[in-house]
């Protein structure tokens, strides 16, 4: 790896009640690249992603051990301030989840929470990030309309703008295009390819073609175990592990 890793996972174990969702995962996520986590359903992809911003904390009855280092800080440390960690990461969920407020307020939400009240500055920020998510032209005349009126594809771009507005370093996507039509998916994918110049992006995907289009680095999980990881070209075109080969050929899914 040429650059210093942004997220380092060391011996991460996650249990939901008595079920082990992640088994001793150790992996480095490279900086300013798109990393795609692939694997069949229920293999722990989402759990791994959510452990990066500790959203797994919301689940009941969860036990976590190991380390997740972001910028050298172990974010699983109970002493760490969690809002500070989450500010560094924008999240796109499977189903777009606009907040129950206007388009404008959705984008401004994060910044307002972190103490920005100046209307002029907020206006600039909202416009900037809506453009960044290529949504501005579609919504500039109805910024104060409810976000829930947007189409699903637009909602996902709004969520992207909302996440970018808090100026994160990392964008996390949990199958961010799975609820979208092909056109909207393409839109989001295009954004990702441009955004990786400034951000590190980690996406969970079960679409192999999407992984091929986007990934610089690939992590393959199977039933909570890390089977293989490495640069996209190696893992996807020339996997070392039998299991990865079978998954890519579509034998296990």
């Amino acid at each position: 790896m040429d650059t210093k890793p942004l997220i380092s996972v060391r011996n991460l174990n996650v249990f939901y009640a008595n079920t082990q969702a992640l088994k001793n995962i150790s992996v480095d996520i490279p900086d300013k690249k798109i990393t795609v986590i692939i694997g069949p359903s229920g293999c722990g992809k989402t759990t791994l992603l959510k452990s990066f911003n500790r959203l797994i904390d919301s689940a009941n009855d969860i036990t976590v051990s190991g380390e997740v280092l972001v910028d050298g800080e172990n974010i699983l440390d109970p002493k760490i301030e969690i809002t500070h960690i989450r500010k560094k990461m924008g999240l796109l969920s499977q189903k777009p989840s606009p907040l129950p407020m206007s388009i404008y307020d959705n984008v401004a939400y994060g910044r307002r929470i972190h103490g920005l009240g100046n209307k002029k500055e907020l206006d600039t920020i909202v416009e900037h990030y809506l453009k960044e998510a290529s949504l501005w032209d579609e919504v500039k005349d109805r910024l104060h309309a409810p976000a829930s009126q947007l189409s699903v594809g637009q909602q996902q771009r709004l969520c992207l703008a909302r996440g970018l507005a808090v100026e994160p370093e990392i964008i996390l996507g949990d199958e961010p295009t799975s609820a979208l039509d092909p056109k909207s998916s393409q839109h989001i994918e295009k954004r990702f390819l441009e955004l990786k110049k400034q951000y590190s992006i980690v996406i969970v995907s079960h679409i192999l073609r999407q992984a091929k289009r986007l990934a610089d680095y690939v992590i393959f999980l199977y039933l909570g175990e890390l089977i293989e990881h490495g640069p996209a070209g190696e893992v996807l075109d020339n996997p070392r592990q039998e299991m990865t080969r079978e998954y890519i050929k579509g034998i296990i899914s």
């Binding site: 500010k87 999240l91 907040l99 909302r162």
Partner: protein, 171 residues
């Protein structure tokens, strides 16, 4: 929640007796508050639990704390339900006679302090209908009309408020 309001009234009355208090506006206020509190909190709790977990996660993911998420996201999402809960509880409180029967007392005049007895509309109806004088009974009917109108206005108002806030709700 399903407790009969006379039980609240009797309980309030017993406590007031032991404290040496007489039936008063204050006693009525406290007992009606106790009566509607469980109705209101239960209805609010139920509607807030309906908040989709994804939008709460979305708020957390932006670095919001639990309190910020509750105040800015959960309350907004549940606002129509919260308004409805307040209205239902209000209707229950304003229309209830049994709980204030012993605790608020009855009088024909306006109370001059919190410690004086007071007539609620249902109590006015109750006592005035029982008199043999046609004029007094007419006042009872007037009180009944007034009560009905208040509840009508409040429910129309709640519809308007709820509609205004429904537009932002995420389904």
């Amino acid at each position: 929640m399903g407790n009969s309001s006379i039980v609240y009234g009797a309980f309030g009355f017993a406590i007031m007796l032991s404290l040496g208090l007489r039936a008063s506006l204050l006693g009525g206020i406290i007992v009606v508050a106790l009566l509607i509190l469980p109705i209101m909190s239960r209805a609010m709790d139920e509607v807030m639990r309906m908040t989709p977990p994804e939008i709460l996660d979305a708020s957390y993911a932006l670095g919001a704390t639990r309190l910020e998420t509750a105040m800015k996201v959960m309350v907004r999402q549940s606002l129509p339900g919260i308004v409805t809960a307040v209205i239902i509880a209000f209707g229950r409180g304003i229309g209830d006679a049994a709980s204030v029967l012993f605790t608020a007392g009855f009088t024909d005049s306006l109370p001059s302090s919190l410690l004086r007895p007071v007539a609620t509309l249902p109590l006015a109806i109750f006592f005035q209908l029982g008199t043999p004088f046609a004029q007094v009974r007419a006042r009872a009917y007037a009180a009944a009309l007034l009560l009905t109108l208040i509840i009508l206005i409040i429910s129309i108002f709640s519809r308007i408020v709820a509609r205004k806030y429904t537009r932002h709700i995420v389904k």
